[in-house]
């Protein structure tokens, strides 16, 4: 059982996915089937601001979102997290497994290793840990942005 009692947003750690750009990284909880998350991701990418991506993929909302989150962690094992992240958000109409395999081919991800890693329980636990931390911080949807240790659904005014 998870502990879902209240806890502030966890500070960025060595296991986080951080894209270094301008300023301090903005922590974003998101999932790959969510259109609003794609809009936020594009906005952040275009701004050049630093960003820390964490998973908020709920099985009760979208079982596919959970599988995509795990797939992104499999890509991360080969050093392609952000490329995979950008690719998923760039085309949310193509998120089935054959589309993921095409992405692997395009990005240079070893498909056999990717497929094996997707089934590693450690990766689903990694995704679940992000979701648990988000719920403990009071997340009520995706995307959620961490501002001053608390989560909000509005895109932060300082990041545009």
């Amino acid at each position: 059982m998870r502990d879902l009692s209240s806890l502030p947003v966890e500070p960025i750690g060595p296991n986080d996915h951080v894209r270094i750009g301008n300023g301090e990284p903005l922590i974003v909880y998101a999932e790959f089937t969510c259109p609003d998350c794609a809009v936020a991701a594009e906005r952040l990418r275009e701004s050049g601001d630093s960003v820390c991506f964490r998973h908020f993929a709920l099985a009760a909302r979208s079982p596919r979102a959970v599988k995509l989150a795990i797939a992104s962690e499999a890509a991360a094992r080969q050093g392609f997290f952000w490329e995979f992240h950008d690719s998923l958000f760039a085309d949310q109409g193509r998120l089935d497994d054959p589309h993921l395999w095409q992405r692997c081919e395009l990005l240079g991800i070893d498909l056999a290793r990717f497929e094996a890693d997707r089934r590693d329980p450690a990766l689903s636990e990694r995704v679940a840990a992000d979701v648990t931390a988000a719920l403990r911080a009071g997340a009520t949807g995706a995307p959620s942005f961490a501002v001053a240790g608390a989560l909000q659904s509005e895109f932060p005014a300082a990041s545009s």
Binding site: L4, L7, L135, G138, A139, T140
Partner: protein, 160 residues
């Protein structure tokens, strides 16, 4: 309208269960009950709320608490809503007389003629142990608040 306060004995009420039978204050005896009042079936925030609470349901119910969702929608709409979402939280209808139970809990939003966004936890003794009224019906209370309230209730020396 103020939400019913902790320590208050639950007033007599009657809601319609999904099978058409009545759910009354007598059904609260002997267990911890979480009543989640929400405005409208199929509305975006209510959808997110039931999905997020479903994600946390194993933790919410671990010590025997039972969660119900309450709105002024008729049972047919509630059932369609629950089935479309694929969530297991039983629906209780406050359709006729409209909002009567919600009004007795202080969980009715008169300006829009709908159930307000509120949560009431009732202990096995039939007294309210925790209540929460959202600042506005559009604000979704994080599930961490429910977990905190249940934990505090467990830690209370008067807990049954």
């Amino acid at each position: 309208m103020s939400i019913i306060a902790p320590g208050t004995k639950v007033p007599p009420f009657s809601l319609a269960r999904e099978d058409g039978s009545k759910f009354t204050d007598a059904d609260l005896a002997g267990k911890t009950t979480i009543l989640v009042f929400y405005p409208f079936a199929f509305s975006p925030v209510c959808t997110s709320q039931l999905q997020i609470y479903t994600e946390a349901l194993p933790e919410i119910t671990i010590d025997g608490a039972v969660m119900y969702a309450v709105s002024t929608d008729p049972s047919f709409s509630q059932i369609a809503f629950r089935e479309q979402l694929g969530v297991p939280i039983e629906q209780l209808s406050d359709f006729e007389p409209k909002g009567a139970a919600a009004k007795s809990f202080g969980a009715y939003f008169e300006p829009a003629g709908m159930t307000n966004r509120a949560i009431v936890i009732v202990g096995p003794d039939g007294c309210v142990s925790w209540s929460h009224l959202a600042d506005s019906p559009g604000d979704l209370p994080g599930v961490n608040l429910i977990i905190d309230a249940l934990a505090a209730d467990q830690a209370s020396p008067t807990a049954v």
